[in-house]
Amino acid sequence: MATTTPTRGAHGSRPSRRAPKPMTPARQAWRSRLWRFDDKASPYAYIAPFFLVFGAFGLYPLIYTGWIALHRVEMTGLDQMEWVGWANFSTILQDSEFWTAVTNTFVIGVISTVPQLMMALGLAHLLNYKLRASTFWRTVILTPYATSVASAALVFALVFRADGGLLNWVLSFFGAGETNWVNGHWTSNIAIAVIVIWRWTGYNTLIYLAAMQAVPSDLYEAASIDGASRWQQFRNVTIPALRPTILFTIVISTIGSMQLFGEPLLLEGGVNGAQGGTEHQYETLSIYLYNYGWNLGHLGPAAAVAWAMLVLLLLIAAINWLIGRYARKTAA
């Protein structure tokens, strides 16, 4: 709206704060260019921090890892890099400890993810009923999520102790309880899986619960008119509707299990923890990477381990994608 404003003497061209003066064409052009620049540049300026931080501390190191993997770099002299080609890769690929770590990571990943997600599904189903104090139950189930890996691992270390451990004491009433949990291959992997399950079941339960509440009620009404029992409704309405969410949680949990570090490190603690047990019986890939780089001080092989993890992740992603496609096909 153009309003007529009294000119203010010699400085008439200065814009007044209260009522803007009609602008000269040149000024108007300048202002509209400014506006357009503001509109064009602002979105990029707003998203720039994410990409700058990710570029500097995520993408660049990720690629640089590949370069380091082809060199000899020692913790004692970080600025000296000596070209060794593929030697680091052949070192770790010929190391049986590496393959133990791959197996353990895989085993722990499966025995922690599968029961965890199934329990979460069941719990979400229970929480989806009309409940008294429903917020209370949700909060209680989520509480382990607020506990750090370190604290959780340390408590469970006491639970799984061979002598004087809580679990063995409880098991002794059933005639068992002589198990040396951390020494066995399977038993130590189970112990670590239990820590993971304890910490993450509640979180996944809430994700499933949110997805269940988004299922349209008409579907259930139609199903119950057709005479479907509660179990059939769960099986044939809820599960198919949750398929994308289930896939999402599988992906997230798989990536999470690739990263297992604090749990194995602190299950026994000390020197044993840093190498994944006396026989490497519960050594994961992250522990292997840490042990090579930060205990032994050879960063070249550690970088090679990181790239091996990348390859494994891509493999798992491909498998996930294939399963997802298969699931969609069978659903259709």
């Binding site: 190191p61 009923y129 209680v140 349209p216 603690g269 992250s286």
Partner: protein, 308 residues
Amino acid sequence: MTTTSTVTTPDRRGVSKTVVRPGEPPRRARFRPGAGRQHHAGPFAYVALAVVGLGSLFPLYWTLVTASRTQDEVLDTPPPLLPGGKLFDNLEAAWEQAHLGTAILNTFIVSCCITAATLFFCTLAGYAFAKMRFKGRGVLMTMVIATLTIPPQLSVVPLFMMMSDIGWGGQLESVIFPTLVSAFGVFFMRQYLLEALPYELIEAGRMDGANNLRIVRSIVLPVARPAMMVLGMLTFVQTWNDFFWPYLALNQENPTLQVALGQLSASYVPDQSIIMAGALISTVPLLVVFVIFGKQIVGGIMAGAVKG
């Protein structure tokens, strides 16, 4: 036939808003999606939930029990199930052995810096992705989500070298800067603003002659506040508990709480009850946050999940 019906749905803040959906038969207003099938829970459901709830809380309770006993009592058979009287002795010992004073201060600094930066940058980026039109928006958003799948393990080796190169080795900066802004946060704020911020409000601001920064300050930030609260709490919990990278980057003299805890258990003669006292110190602040804001955190995780 197009009838217009009003359906009341609770939005993320728990406030009911009325959505008008054309072409739907009128429904009773108290209907929620999925609510039609909600049977009352039977006794079995309560028993099952109580068992899981006890399982969830017992390790935390046992942390308190073991932190208040002597090591001999903790390792005795049968193990103690009730708290003892040694809590303050153990806390004092843990405090002296593991630089816990420094650790608490450091953890607080790191968590606050990262949370503040995450909120600021993620809200801006989330707004841009949700409501601004620009070239490459779809591709860039896909990139943001793709970065969620990259575990930190893949980049720690060069990151460690970089940090010592620029003189941040063992310093808090090396832990703060890599996590200043998170992909999850950008995604979370975008999802919220997509629904919560109407275009009309932005247009109205523009009509009044507000530039983009002004719109962010006067329109976007007030609208985004509830989601920022939730994102702030989630980020704080995560950074407080972060273990892997801080454990590699920081040293014994200048640790965060989790790092100090890890080092306490790696000491030559680990005393279990002192370790558990350390674990208790590192857990209690978050449990307090959880008791106060549990409802909001639960709501936030569920809100972030629906569209995830």
